[in-house]
């Protein structure tokens, strides 16, 4: 199965990535596209920008490994993961996950699995710039326990949902 994994500074085009997965095929019944966007505030403080630092070679390999894990777990017909790094402003895209499958449950589950993974295990770190009194405060975003809990859903020992 053709999988796309790309790390880039530039914006991406979600629609064209989804289109590439489908083109010329008639076995795909469901495409799920997830776009993660930089919000304009963090805990009610206005956000000026976000900078994503990453571990270049490890990030590629790690994401590809998790895409392969998703392909083993669900009968996928296409996957694309694009993650941006560098400085990103509110309203801009950060991350894209597209999954294609014959049936919707597989496409949804794989997209959620990949996003939960990217949030907790892909070597990226977000630093945000908040508008402060006399300038901007740069703050490293802390990992969220709620994201760990979501990622734990996919561990082999935890039954996720009846439908799987």
């Amino acid at each position: 199965m053709a999988a796309t994994v790309r790390l880039q500074r530039e914006p991406f085009d979600a629609a064209s990535e989804a289109e590439k997965l489908r083109r010329g095929r008639s076995d795909i019944g469901a495409v799920v596209t997830f776009t993660g966007i930089c919000r304009g505030d963090e805990a009610d403080a206005p956000l000026v920008a976000m900078t994503l630092e990453h571990y270049p070679d490890m990030a590629d390999a790690e994401i590809a490994r998790h895409v392969a894990a998703a392909e083993r777990r669900w009968p996928l017909l296409g996957v694309a993961v694009i993650h941006r790094y560098g400085r990103i402003q509110p309203g801009e895209d950060i991350v894209l996950v597209v999954t294609a499958a014959a049936h919707r449950q597989d496409a949804f589950a794989a997209a959620e699995f990949l996003m939960d993974y990217l949030k907790t295990r892909a070597p990226f770190w977000k630093q945000i710039e908040l508008a402060g009194g006399g300038g901007t405060d740069k703050i490293w975003v802390e990992a969220k326990r709620s994201d760990d809990a979501l990622a734990d859903r996919w561990a082999p020992s935890s039954g996720r949902r009846a439908a799987e």
Partner: protein, 83 residues
């Protein structure tokens, strides 16, 4: 071996990477953290709470009890916040 630091670990240590030669007794990631912490205030600050430090050996996540022998590149960083 090469060490690489990311995010606030990098900022606290003050450099993105360096070459080091740990002494013979330093066998695991945890040993390496302890040894590095003794090298100066910036290291002690970066590693003050070892529980929140994540590590990778040759670009794969490892736990703190992982053996470092044979490693070419070891990275230290905070919990990931991608996505």
């Amino acid at each position: 071996m090469k060490l690489r630091y990311f995010a606030w670990v990098r900022e606290r240590i003050g450099k993105p990477e360096e070459e080091i030669e740990p002494p013979a007794g330093v066998a695991t990631i945890a040993d390496l953290v302890t040894w590095l912490s003794g090298r100066g205030e910036e290291y002690a600050h970066a590693f003050e709470n070892p529980r929140v430090i994540r590590a990778a050996i040759d670009r794969a996540h490892v736990r703190s009890d992982a053996a470092i022998s044979g490693a070419r590149e070891i990275a230290f960083f905070p919990p990931m916040t991608g996505g």
